[in-house]
């Protein structure tokens, strides 16, 4: 579904990410893990088109998307749940959901999809006419996920979904991601909380100082000394 080969991203003279390779197969959850500032979100930014790639290529759903504008990549079926939720605070829950699918679906399909999302996230139905900014952090995360799912994407990128959430809410969010995968969704998960990410991922890539330092199945990484010492606190 997604293949990243030799990706490099520069901020001016600084090479934030280099020689990053990763692959996400259909129906898989692949975790991109690492410490704060390792280059995870930069990689995600280049995959979805928000950041230009200095080198390498990104292939999505069989076609190269390197250098395409983010809206063009999104129209091919990639959606992002951004770090910090970034829901539209002054718009209602209803409008946030509508914008998530407006380009991809016709009116009838949009309404059907909205009903599916409200069934999946009942809390959004309760606050349907409320402004997104009035929701709690956990509710905003639900809205951000539902908004991304509105377009019926082939691949969803989650950028630090646990950030700033209460532990109970984190559990709910990760249970949900695992459930979405069981329903056939493909996920690239960027997460600082390595233990949580490895719990639900099929495979993972560890990134440090902008480079891939380890990759393998979630089980292999959970058992590796490097991951246990550096990220799991053993």
């Amino acid at each position: 579904m997604l293949s990243v080969e030799g990706l490099a991203v520069r901020y001016g003279e600084v090479e934030a990410v280099r020689r990053v390779d990763l692959a996400v197969g259909a129906g898989e959850i692949v975790a991109l893990v690492g410490a704060n500032g390792a280059g995870k979100s930069t990689t995600l930014g280049a995959v979805c088109g928000l950041l230009p790639a200095a080198a390498g290529r990104v292939v999505f759903d069989g076609a190269p998307v390197t250098g395409l504008a983010p809206e063009l990549i999104a129209r091919r079926g990639m959606a992002l749940v951004p770090e910090g939720r970034r829901i539209f605070a002054s718009l209602s829950v209803a409008d946030n959901l509508e914008l998530g699918g407006a380009v991809h679906l016709d009116r009838a399909a949009l309404e059907a999809r909205r009903d599916e999302m409200l069934a999946l996230f009942p809390v959004l139905g309760r606050y349907y006419r409320h402004k997104g900014g009035n929701l709690s952090g956990g509710e905003q995360q639900m809205l951000a996920i539902a908004r991304a799912l509105m377009s019926k994407p082939k691949l969803v990128l989650f950028d630090e979904p646990s950030l700033g959430l209460a532990p109970q809410v984190i559990d709910v969010v990760f249970d949900l991601i695992a459930r979405l995968r069981r329903d056939g969704l493909t996920v690239l998960l960027v997460e600082q909380n390595v233990a949580l990410a490895l719990e639900i991922a099929d495979s993972a890539v560890v990134i440090a100082n902008g480079e891939v330092v380890l990759s393998g199945t979630a089980g292999e990484l959970a058992a590796s000394d490097l991951v246990r010492q550096a990220y799991l606190g053993d």
Binding site: C48, L50, A69, P70, E71, A74, R75, A79, L80, P82, R86, F88, A89, S90, L91, D95, N96, E98, L99, G100, A102, V103, H104, G133, R147, S151
Partner: protein, 293 residues
């Protein structure tokens, strides 16, 4: 007398609000204060003048003139600002000054540096009587046009997908693009709307002055810029409130200042602006982004 002044205040405030909204719509999405906005007013004025000279009926000339402003705004975006997408705020600002200067020179050399008289229909001048109170036709038209335009914009922004996408883009343009919305279409729509509002404001401005000149847009756009800052840079409700506040303050001072202090009117208004910003640095109704930061 008080009713007349209230009508004048709302009428002038309406013009400023329309202009301020045009500036705010573009700023909220791409972070550009378009100082060439005044030249969109000038385009409107000259196209109206030309249309009337060619014998086009007034209502048609009005539509053509406002349409010309919208088209000019779209061309401005495509030719000058789209190639600068992603550039710094300073670069965008300098580009807008360059566009403004270029158009001024074109008008001065291509038409005339002198004001050109324009004959507005007789029903647009004078006053009418309401319950013994004389109300100016010009301010009354300003109020009516402003109310209809603001209501139309409100419906557009709240009921259409493009309008909602524009409100969302004002908060977070990147995320809107990640939903597949075309950045070019959203920015172009913002410019077209700003052109329409500049065109409407220009018609009301020209109706009061009955002349068109290459610099006619400078003062009102400067006032509109002040209104957007007072209201909250990038905030659309703030732009409207800022416009009406500025209009009301100017009319109030005009009506109450003794003649010897009249030359200080603008200085007093700007002092009031500084006071407002000291109390509310992000403006009366800050933009969502400003509230976050």
């Amino acid at each position: 007398m008080i009713v007349q002044q209230i009508v004048n205040a709302i009428g002038l405030g309406g013009i400023y609000a329309l202009l301020a909204l045009g500036l705010a719509i573009v700023f909220s999405i791409i972070g550009l204060i378009n100082f060439a906005h005044g030249e969109l007013m000038t385009v409107t004025g000259y196209v109206l003048l030309a249309s009337l000279l060619f014998g086009v009926p007034f209502p048609v000339a009005v539509v053509v003139a406002v349409g010309a402003a919208a088209l000019a705004a779209l061309v401005m975006e495509r030719v000058a600002f789209r190639p600068m997408r992603g550039a710094s705020v300073t670069s965008l600002l300098l580009t807008s000054f360059a566009v403004s200067s270029l158009l001024k020179v074109l008008f001065q050399n291509g038409v005339s540096a002198r004001p050109q008289p324009i004959s507005m229909p007789s029903w647009m001048v004078g006053a009418f009587d309401v319950g013994g109170v004389s109300i100016g036709v010009g301010p009354a038209i300003s109020i009516a046009v402003s109310v209809v335009a603001l209501a139309g914009l409100e419906v557009f922004l709240r009921r259409t997908v493009t309008g909602k996408a524009m409100r969302a883009a004002a908060e977070d343009f990147d995320v809107v693009r990640l939903m597949g919305m075309s950045a070019g279409r959203i920015v172009a729509t913002a410019f077209v709307l700003s052109g329409i509002f500049a065109g409407l404001a220009a018609l009301l401005w020209v109706a009061q002055r009955a002349s068109v000149d290459p610099l006619m847009g400078f003062t009102p756009v400067l006032k509109a810029f002040i209104a957007t800052v007072v209201g909250g840079l990038g905030s659309l409700p703030g732009a409207v409130v800022g416009g009406f506040l500025l209009g009301a303050t100017e009319v109030l001072l005009q009506a109450t200042l003794p003649p010897e202090l009249a030359p200080y009117r603008d200085a007093i208004v700007l002092s009031a602006v500084i006071l407002v910003l000291l109390v509310r640095p992000s403006g009366v109704i800050p933009a969502v982004g400003a509230q976050r930061s």
